[in-house]
């Protein structure tokens, strides 16, 4: 992060704070200023107390204490104000920092949900997650601690500096030189420290990677009795981590003693110089004494201020990442054509209905027309590339009439899954056109388009909640009976009923407690509940063993009945009965036809089918 963007991020953050908590923010600033003034005033008043109120009374017989008591009373009052303002700003800061954090988190998530799939495909998931916790936490520390600290220290430093200038310009120059020296040294140590911290971070990643790989392969290690080598390699990395941690921490640890002791050295220099000046130029002793007191405070607070540097830099880097996410461009959704309930008039034409009728239609506001939702899909010379210049799909044309089952076959990377990504507009095509019931899908509202397409993917994602809630994911108002029926269709009912809590079993960690096959069955059932006219099954049964698959197949056949289905499958037995099988290679269609036709062709499909060719 460069200086300019740091400043920019800071300003934006402050804008964020002030737009929601303007009054509180201003009160906090005032309270901080007042509390630091009280703190400093209280400290310096002590000298006044001694010089003006106590010293005159020394040796006086029957001293009159009234003035002294009044002075102490005044000091107590100042301190009381100090305590109250400290309480006030500390307490308000909690409101502001927690409140802003909540707003930022919610904004982030809200915005994240609108981002296109590309964002999630291109960014490391761990990184995205760390925005929500690590980066916002760094922000919290900055808002609740660093900023108040900086303001308080800053005020005191400025006040002390002005006071020092008034007292003696030359001595002030000496102090400034001393402080500059102190800061340069701090920077030097800080740089060293951060150099080792970066090295340490890298080794940490290396060690974590090694541990993860080895612990994951621990069973292989045992089978090959490879324990000793694993230990030896671990020790080497462990030693490296130790070296870097040691150095990084050493520099971090010595910063404090170096800074504060240099502060004392500056103090001594001023004391000696001040002493000489006082005696030689007959300067007031009081001036030098006050100056010395200020010197201590000055260096101490500079020291404290510089301690904030690291945490502020860290928080700003985090804030920058958060703003980057918030600035990420949302997925556009300009389609005007929407999905509506419809009823058929006697003459066969369609009419919009306000209630569920079982019949759906596409409503186009431009010409006020209704088209029945049937599930007719057509791709016409579609080209697509994820990265410009690297075509993943080229000149793909195909159609699926309502109720037809179309299968895609091809090696990994041939472009099968990409086609699925294009139909529901996870990605937009570069060239060509995709029609849904004759309507260009770019004109259809994305939400409605997606509602009309069911997807079952190889990697099943379930959500925390009961099995029933997961089944209902696609259609919130589905009844329990409908969900159970869908589960039966997918053959998922058997294992669900065996679970201790049946349909009320809570799923956590993406269904960690279920097998991959069981999770796939749930995903199929979930899709069945949402009841879409078009379904895309991307390796939906890959983890179900062949015996179970036979049972699932019946349910799947029932599920597919009357729907347009796109199937991507590795296992050719799954797709044998497809209306058309499309063989893809390097983003192009190389063969198409039904099973018998393709076998007869004796081409790629034939080779795959007879096992002469390996798919992966």
């Amino acid at each position: 992060m460069n200086k300019k963007s740091k400043k920019h991020t800071l300003l934006r953050l402050i804008k964020y704070i002030t737009s929601y908590y303007k009054v509180q923010f201003i009160i906090i600033l005032f309270a901080i200023i007042l509390s630091s003034v009280c703190h400093v005033y209280g400290q310096s008043f002590l000298q006044t107390l001694i010089d003006d109120y106590i010293t005159p009374l020394i040796g006086v017989e029957n001293p009159i204490y009234t003035d002294l008591w009044q002075a102490i009373g005044w000091m107590a009052f100042v301190y009381a104000v100090g305590v109250i303002t400290t309480f006030l700003y500390s307490r308000l800061t909690v409101n502001v920092s927690q409140g802003v954090l909540k707003i930022i988190r919610d904004d982030m998530f809200h915005h994240m949900e609108t981002l296109p799939i590309r964002y999630f495909d291109d960014n490391n998931h761990g990184d995205i997650m760390s925005y929500y916790i690590n980066d916002t936490d760094a922000l919290r520390e900055m808002i609740s601690q660093s900023i108040p600290n900086c303001v308080a220290n800053g005020i005191i430093i400025i006040a002390a500096f002005i006071a020092m200038l008034f007292l003696n310009v030359y001595l002030t120059i000496v102090i400034v030189i001393g402080v500059l020296f102190m800061l340069t040294l701090a920077r030097f140590i800080g740089k060293k420290s951060s150099k080792y911290f970066i090295a340490r971070q890298k080794t940490v990643a290396k060690v974590n990677g090694y541990i993860e790989e080895m612990i994951d392969g621990q069973k292989v290690i045992q089978v090959f009795t490879h324990e000793d080598e694993a230990k030896k390699n671990f020790d080497i990395l462990n030693e490296e981590l130790f070296e870097n941690t040691k150095n990084a921490n050493t520099y971090a640890n010595i910063l404090m003693p170096v800074m504060s002791n240099i502060g004392y050295l500056i103090y001594v220099v001023i004391a000696i110089l001040g002493g000489f000046i006082a005696i030689k130029f007959n300067l007031s002793i009081g001036v030098i004494a006050s100056f010395l007191l200020l010197t201590r405070g000055f260096t101490m607070h500079i020291n404290q201020l510089s301690q904030q540097y690291n945490s502020i830099a860290l928080a700003l880097a985090g804030a920058n990442r958060i703003f980057e996410l918030i600035d990420e461009k949302s997925e556009e959704n300009n389609g005007k054509v929407t999905l509506v309930h419809a009823i058929k008039n006697e003459d066969g034409s369609l009419k919009v209905s306000s209630t569920y009728t079982g019949l759906w239609a596409w409503y186009n506001p431009d010409n006020d027309s209704l088209t029945e939702l049937k599930g007719d899909i057509q791709l016409k010379s579609v080209d697509f590339s994820y990265v410009e210049g690297k075509k993943v799909l080229e000149d793909i044309s195909l159609y699926a009439k309502p109720g037809q089952k179309i299968a895609f076959v091809g090696a990994t990377g041939a472009g099968k899954t990409t086609i699925a990504n294009l139909i529901n507009r996870f990605y937009d095509i570069q060239d060509g056109i995709i029609l849904y019931d004759g309507i260009d899908i770019k004109q259809i509202n994305k939400n409605d388009l997606r509602k009309s397409l069911g997807m079952v993917l190889q990697d099943v994602n379930l959500f925390t909640g009961t099995i029933m809630e997961n089944l209902r994911y696609g259609r919130e108002n589905a009844t329990d009976e409908e969900c159970i029926e869908a589960a039966r269709l997918a053959n998922a009912d058997k294992f669900i009923e065996k679970l201790p809590n049946g349909y009320d079993t809570i799923i956590t960690d993406n269904g960690d407690n279920l097998s991959q096959g069981q999770r796939q069955l749930l995903a199929i059932a979930r899709c069945a509940v949402s009841n879409p006219p078009v379904m895309i099954l991307d390796e939906a049964t890959s983890s179900i063993d062949t015996r179970t698959e036979k049972e699932v197949q019946e349910g799947m056949d029932k599920l597919m009945e009357g729907r347009t289905v796109f199937v991507i499958a590795h296992r050719l037995s799954t797709i044998r009965n497809a209306k058309a099988i499309i063989v893809l290679e390097n983003g192009r269609i190389i063969e198409r036809g039904n099973h018998e036709q393709l076998i007869e062709q004796k081409g790629k499909y034939y080779q795959l089918y007879t096992g002469a060719f390996e798919l992966e």
């Binding site: 541990i211 994951d216 462990n238 640890n253 004391a271 996870f426 390996e614």
Partner: protein
């Protein structure tokens, strides 16, 4: 528990003690400094005595230079000691894990072991450093400062005997109350993490079911919960600063009030009065430090518990006393073997098998029929719950584990290649293997062809998890790696599922021809992978349904028939 952990300090004990010594010295000097800084004004400047200014100034320079030196040294040794301690902890845990059996590993799960080795150790490292640095500094500071006040004026020091306990009580009360609140914040963080993770990972599902609004609602409720819990905790914790100030200010006022009487009465100098006030701040600040250490310690207790769990786990499989190193041949006898992962839930029941050395045996059965479990018992990856297994007519438990596993090569279902070259990976089978050995086994496992196509041949680099070779290639490399061990028994646990049927058949053929004396056990989903075996075990729900030649099974066994007919030969590419 603490004693168990502290053992890992070992050679860094000296450095830890040095840290303590230097910190003691540093604190001692730090306590002197305020008195010198006031003396320089009182005795020097105020009386225009430049000599005193010089003398005290020089003393102060020396004191602060030494304080700097000790601070530097203590900081350095604290860093060495704490990172050394962490290094030893990681070492001890990792070595311990190497002794774990499969069931030990499964008990923890590998992801949890990773967290314990990384995050938890890191937490303890920070706590340790904090302890050796501040746990000494704070009490010393407290005692030294109190002592200084006492020497200046014993009556004034009584003030602290009242205020310090009150402040201490308040600080620890807050820490104790806040800690559980913070724990609940961290638990809610898990929910937040979970919610984000589900959405990031499952964004395709969210979008295709158009559930963005619901997900946002769910997230908002989690983030509100964090907000509420965090507010509760922080509201309490922010009381610390005003309370600190209140106590310090109160002491200053009381000291000024009482002290001024002493000064006027002539029993205290003005310089001494300011000195006492300076020490007041130090005394009360040290209490603050103590409460901070207290909080850090309670936070790190769970980490400590998790680490101790790893260190105290007893490996379930250990060498017996006999430790036989010679495995005579590859014959295997199962007598009345039952096995349960968890008590009373037998997944294998009454298994009796007699396999001759050199036979090729197939195993089929549906998911959950315990095929893998059956073969894992042979090299003692698990121990039988009852019954016995003999190899070369000796109970497997009487062999030295290393010798046994070197003789029984299992190609696991969950194949793992490690980052490194192909040669590095193959050498897992035999460290001293030569290129000729590589060629021989790669030919049997049908790797020769694709390896020769790689420009770097055996030196081709395999990425972590073996992601840059195809599934079929990975499986074949794993078979070659196992063959390098010169095993008496080789077990393929569904290890050719991604290999095409033709190559699969070639591998089996070369098994027969090149390693005729080795007992071969093949688990497969695909009927074509086992139909040319000598005999096939049909497992059903942990029991042997039949054990016979493939021809006989096709005639008599219902399960075998069902699988056979569902897979018209060659129709299946996967599994």
């Amino acid at each position: 528990m603490i004693r168990q952990i502290i053992k890992s300090v070992r050679e860094y004990k000296n450095k830890s003690i040095l840290t303590l010594i230097f910190i003691t010295l540093e604190v001692f000097l730090d306590v002197l400094i305020p008195i010198l800084t006031t003396k320089i004004i009182d005795n020097g400047i105020n009386v225009k005595d430049i000599n005193t200014v010089l003398t005290i100034g020089i003393i102060l320079i020396f004191v602060s230079l030494f304080s700097l030196l000790f601070g530097w040294l203590s900081g350095k040794y604290a860093a060495v000691a704490s990172s050394g301690f962490a290094k030893n902890l990681r070492h001890d845990m990792y070595y311990k894990i190497q002794d774990y059996s499969f069931s030990n590993i499964e008990k923890f799960s590998s992801s949890s072991l990773v967290t314990r080795l990384t995050t938890d150790v890191n937490n303890l490292q920070m706590t340790y450093q904090m302890l050796i640095r501040i746990a000494v500094r704070a009490p010393l500071m407290f005692i030294f400062s109190l002592f200084m006040v006492f020497t200046i004026n014993s009556k004034l020091s009584l003030i602290f005997l009242v205020i310090a306990p009150i402040l201490g009580f308040l600080l620890f009360y807050i820490a104790n109350r806040a800690h559980p609140l913070f724990e609940s914040v961290f638990r809610t963080y898990d929910d937040l993490n979970n919610s984000v993770q589900e959405n990031v990972r499952g964004i395709r599902v969210v979008k295709s079911y158009v559930q963005e609004e619901t997900e946002i609602k769910k997230f908002n409720s989690v983030s509100s919960k964090i907000y509420k819990n965090f507010m509760k905790a922080e509201k309490l914790v922010v009381l610390n600063t005003p309370i600190m100030r209140l106590c310090i200010y109160t002491s200053i006022i009381i000291i000024s009030y009482i002290g001024s009487k002493f000064v006027i009465g002539g029993t205290l100098t003005t310089g001494e009065l300011t000195g006492v006030i300076t020490y007041a701040a130090q005394i009360l600040n040290s209490l603050m430090m103590l409460s901070m250490i207290y909080v850090t310690c309670i936070i790190s207790i769970p980490s400590m518990e998790r680490i101790v769990e790893v260190l105290n786990e007893t490996p379930t499989i250990r060498n017996s006393n006999k430790k036989l190193t010679e495995v005579k041949d590859g014959s295997i006898i199962f007598s009345d073997v039952s096995f349960a992962y968890t008590k009373d839930k037998n997944v294998l029941k009454n298994i009796n098998l007699n396999i001759k050395s050199g036979e090729m045996i197939g195993i089929i059965g549906g998911i959950g029929s315990s095929k893998s479990t059956l073969v894992n018992l042979i090299p003692r990856l698990y121990d039988v719950t009852s019954g016995s297994i003999k190899i070369g007519n000796v109970d497997v438990r009487d062999y030295d584990i290393k010798s046994l596993r070197d003789s029984v090569a299992v190609v696991l279902q969950k194949n793992v290649l490690f980052s490194g070259t192909i040669a590095d990976n193959l050498k897992w089978g035999n460290k001293e293997a030569t290129i000729e050995d590589f060629d021989r086994v790669c030919k049997i496992a049908c790797c020769d062809e694709f390896i020769s196509k790689f420009p770097d041949g055996y030196d081709t680099y395999i990425d972590q998890g073996g992601t840059n070779v195809s599934g079929g290639q990975k499986q074949r490399l794993c078979i070659a790696r196992a063959l390098l061990k010169h095993p008496k028994i080789i077990i393929l646990d569904d290890s050719t599922s991604a290999v095409d049927t033709k190559t699969d058949a070639i591998i089996r053929k070369s098994f027969r021809e090149k390693i005729p004396d080795v007992t071969k056990i093949i688990i497969a989903q695909r009927i074509s992978s086992i139909e040319d075996c000598d005999r096939v075990i049909v497992l059903d729900n942990g029991e042997i349904s039949a054990f016979d030649t493939p021809d006989n099974l096709l005639k008599s066994n219902k399960i075998y028939q069902e699988v056979y007919y569902s897979q018209t030969k060659g129709s299946d590419l996967d599994e």
